[in-house]
């Protein structure tokens, strides 16, 4: 085996090991699992059930119905928070000293970040799948085809990746669970300063101006277009999500360098 192949195999082993451990912890510890499952369903129930009358607001013209309109928001929100909650796990690993030992063992430490990313994706995969089953079981209408839906889930996966890398960057810089609000609040604000309840055209005042500049708006508009079978802003949304993921990757990996310099 060449040195390059051996190095790749070692990195893959580290990434898969970290991913397995993190996903296993997240999926088998009730205190960690329950909030990450409960919150998306709570938002879906409260928004799709409690606000469906917004369909009757003049100018609201989403053809797939309010359940599908809110499903897209909750799916993207669950993806983002799947990443953030995994960031909490990274901070906990630093607090417990696990990451310090992991850094000593890993030949390529960027593989540790990849492992956390895979775990975040697996964690969101479970939430996203359950949310989809529930949405269809309550009669969600979908106008888009299989490729449109695949596009929606791919977009959500990119959002998950960007949120994880953002949280990882924070966790690796501050290395304490007390950094939780710093990981969570910007993501929460970015999500809610977008057209959550009604389409962008119906927003008025400062929220309209903020939403227009917010990339999450385009994730939502594209996702809703894909579900309705009337794609819009898809290219913009994917470019913004990929750009955000790339910037977050730089943030996350530089956070790893900071943690290395601080001795884990």
């Amino acid at each position: 085996m060449s040195a390059r192949a051996s190095s790749f195999a070692a990195s893959r082993s580290v990434a898969l090991g970290v991913a397995w451990r993190t996903a296993h912890n997240a999926l088998t510890t009730p205190n960690i699992l329950i909030p990450s499952l409960v919150f998306p369903f709570l938002f879906f129930t409260a928004f799709a059930g409690g606000l469906s009358q917004l369909e009757r607001v003049p100018g609201f013209d989403f053809p797939a119905g309010y359940t599908a309109f809110q499903f897209v928001f909750v799916l993207l929100q669950s993806a983002a928070f799947g990443g953030v909650f995994t960031g909490f796990g990274i901070a906990r690993d630093f607090e417990s000293g696990f990451t310090r030992r992991l850094m000593l063992a890993a030949p390529h430490r960027s593989a540790i970040v990849v492992g956390y990313g895979l775990a975040a994706l697996a964690r969101w995969g479970l939430t996203g799948a359950l949310l989809t089953v529930v949405a269809f079981s309550v009669g969600m209408e979908v106008g888009g085809g299989g490729i449109d839906l695949a596009g929606l889930y791919l977009l959500a996966a990119l959002v998950n990746c960007a949120a994880l890398l953002w949280s990882a960057g924070v966790a690796m810089r501050l290395r304490t669970l007390q950094a939780g609000p710093i990981m969570q609040i910007p993501v929460f604000l970015a999500l809610f300063l977008a057209p959550v309840y009604v389409p962008l055209d119906l927003l008025r005042g400062w929220i309209h101006a903020v939403a227009q500049a917010n990339p999450v708006t385009y994730f939502l508009e594209a996702g809703r277009g894909l579900v309705a079978g009337q794609p819009a802003y898809v290219g913009v949304a994917f470019a913004a999500a990929a750009g955000l993921a790339a910037l977050s990757a730089l943030w996350g990996l530089s956070g790893m360098r900071r943690a290395e310099a601080a001795g884990g």
Binding site: V38, G59, F60, Y197, V198, L203
Partner: protein, 259 residues
């Protein structure tokens, strides 16, 4: 014995108030987070006011009742976490060796969250007025709103004390936070019940006591003096306080028995 009771209450209440107000993590999030959520929701849900039958042209005025109740939910977590810490570090066991009466212990313990509840309510009220919300019930309505907020904070604080006495674990209290949020979200927080189109959601919001707490506070802001809404809000908050106090007293006796 009767003369000792106020002294016992005073000492414990002072400790509880100081301990609560000295922790920024207890004070800042209940002030900032509900206000932020109400502001963002008010902006996003403003088109709701275009629906026929919506009770006010200002969604911010409609939404401003929510922080008063959401802030009280934080009281559950604060009171519960503090008492769980007292249980874990043995403070409660040491108190059990003194002539401290159970009722005084519980009342003194929730004094901190009641004080914080009053500060929160004053903050939300000030924020609403600065943001241009007009209180239809006037200055007397503001006093009633503060009274309701304090009563609700005491009720939820006692729920937190009950949970702490039952579980003895701060982590378990924190894990219950999403459950408490269910009550807030499945309520009339974002829409009046008569406008809810989903029958099952309207039914859930109707049987949810939190809806009546929100509607009572809301009535003072957007309607003026609505005796039915206020009577329901005060009845629900009083019932919550009585039931939670009874449950917490029972849990305290059970824990002391084990001690």
């Amino acid at each position: 014995m009767t003369a000792i009771a106020p002294s016992q209450l005073g000492h414990l209440a002072r400790r509880s108030v100081l301990r609560t107000l000295r922790q920024p993590a207890y004070v800042v999030p209940p002030l900032v987070f509900p206000t932020l959520l109400a502001t963002v929701n008010a902006a996003g849900l403003r088109p709701s006011t275009l629906l026929a039958g919506f009770p006010t042209p200002s969604f911010l005025a409609f939404a401003m009742a929510v922080p008063f109740i959401q802030g009280a939910l934080f009281a559950t977590m604060n009171a519960g976490t503090d008492l769980a810490r007292d249980i874990a570090n043995g403070f409660l066991n040491r108190l059990a060796l003194t002539p401290m009466r159970g009722g005084m212990l519980l009342a003194g313990h929730v004094a901190g969250v009641v004080a914080l509840g009053l500060i929160q309510a004053l903050f939300y009220l000030g924020f609403a007025l600065v943001a241009g919300v007009h209180l239809e019930a006037g200055p007397a309505g503001a006093l009633v709103l503060l009274l309701l907020a304090v009563l609700v904070a005491a009720g939820f604080g006692m729920v937190g004390a009950f949970m702490a006495l039952r579980t003895g674990s701060g982590e378990a209290i924190q894990a219950l936070f999403p459950v408490l949020f269910v009550f807030l979200f499945i309520s009339s927080m974002n829409a009046p019940r008569h406008l809810m189109e989903s029958g099952w959601f309207r039914a859930l919001a109707t049987i949810n006591p939190v809806s009546y707490l929100i509607e009572g506070a809301r009535s003072l802001i957007i309607a003026g003096w609505d005796s039915q809404a206020l009577a329901l809000a005060f009845a629900v908050s009083a019932a919550l306080l009585v039931a939670a106090t009874a449950a917490a007293s029972w849990a305290l006796r059970a824990r002391m028995g084990r001690t």
